[in-house]
């Protein structure tokens, strides 16, 4: 238990400290959002139609940025070997890593999402739903993304590879979150979309650490 605590603290400080932490993802997100009106035009009606969807999709894209370093850093300097030999099982290590990734990248992004959404002409009433889908979806993005990062260990061009491997897996959570946002905007009940998103996130949190640990063991031996 003591080891697990130390591990979580280590992962959090690494995730916040290394390479700009949440700021990098937030800056990417802001740039992406700023480019949309430049490409699609500034007509508020047009923006209002696609804005919330783009703000939501941007969360998925921005969460990819720092994934490459999630396991690779520890793999290169040998820390992953030590963690694999340590008393904490690799599954728990993976859980801690992806959890720290969520807290350092996806949670700040979820808090920033309403700002982007409103800038893209979404109504202010959508704020709570945007944060909620951002948090639930962020869990799914962090854990599924972590799996991609673990699989890409030792690969050439790891960053691009993680994106190619992970983005198709993001299809269900993107759909569920967009459905919840859509329902909230149209005044119908967003519960179905939210529940499905929560179910996907729960499954990701529960199952991907096993696959992440298997991928790490494969890269280590």
């Amino acid at each position: 238990m003591k080891g697990l605590n130390a591990l979580i603290r280590r992962e959090l400080s690494l995730a916040y400290g290394g390479g700009g932490g949440p700021l990098l993802a937030l800056a990417f997100y802001a740039s992406l959002v700023a480019l949309l009106p430049l490409a699609a035009g500034r007509n508020p009606q047009m923006l209002g139609a696609v804005g919330p969807g783009v703000a939501w999709l941007g969360l998925a894209l921005a969460s990819l940025l720092s994934l490459e370093r999630l396991f690779e850093r520890d793999y290169e300097d040998g820390a992953l070997d030590l963690l694999a030999m340590g008393p904490v099982p690799l599954e728990a290590v993976a859980l801690a890593k992806a959890g720290a990734q969520f807290l350092a990248v996806n949670a700040p992004l979820a808090v920033a999402a309403p700002v982007a959404s409103i800038a893209l002409a979404a109504p202010a009433s959508l704020i709570p739903m945007t944060i909620l889908t951002g948090l639930l979806g962020g869990l799914a993005f962090a854990f599924v993304g972590g799996l991609g990062a673990a699989l890409a260990l030792g690969a050439k061009r790891g960053g691009l590879l993680v994106a190619v491997v992970v983005l198709p897996l993001f299809a269900p959570p993107v759909i569920f979150g967009a459905a919840a946002l859509d329902a909230a905007r149209n005044g119908s009940s967003p519960v179905t979309g939210l529940l499905l998103l929560a179910a996907y996130a729960a499954a990701a949190v529960g199952l991907t650490p096993i696959a992440m640990a298997a991928a790490c063991r494969n890269a280590l031996d």
Binding site: L147, L151, A152, G154, V165
Partner: protein, 244 residues
Amino acid sequence: MRLPRQLEFLSLPDRFMAVSAWLAPTIGALAVLLLEFGLWFGFKVPPDYQQGATVLIMFIHVPAAWLSMFGYVCLAVSSFLSLVFRHALADAAAKACAPLGAGFTALALATGSLWGRPMWGAWWVWDARLTSVLVLLLFYLGYIALRASIEDENRAGRAAAILALVGAVNLPVVHWSVNWWNTLHQGSSVFRVGGPTLAAVYLIPLLLMALGYTAAFGALWLVRIRAELWRRKARTLSLQAANR
């Protein structure tokens, strides 16, 4: 873990080579025959009352779509065998399977697009089935990309096998969620193809074509596995020669 006795012949590359040496050309010849008959019957069907002559595209499109999914099942089963039983032959089978499956998926998308243009008036619509087949193609591409970017072959094989199994767990979820998304967004037109039921005149060539496609897939898969095993043998031999 050891392989069950019934599947043991799969674990012996020599045995596999001996069997596939005559099995691959046999299935290949069968595929050519079936496809010829299927096309011949296909060209003789009366034009559909709604779709006219474009209904013929069905005979090359539907079997490709079917094989795109069958290919992923083959990939997932091979990956499972290679991961759990640590099987070199299963790994070669998975490696050989992925580009084939991706090819059939791309064929299904391309022929579907060609069919969509005269029928729906658009090359592409975001219909549930089209979208989930597109995601399936992306799964294949992710698998191939992962496999290609890790240099150590054993590692690449196992990492790719984990990804294939994760994909196999995810594909039903993707399929279901895309269907759900489509009903939410109220599909823009009616995508019922070929009318409510398929008449026997269409069914016979379709079945022949489906069997022909499957046989072609099997023959190509066997040939690709053989090529992969030869490549590995050549690699081992050249390493041995370099050591001497």
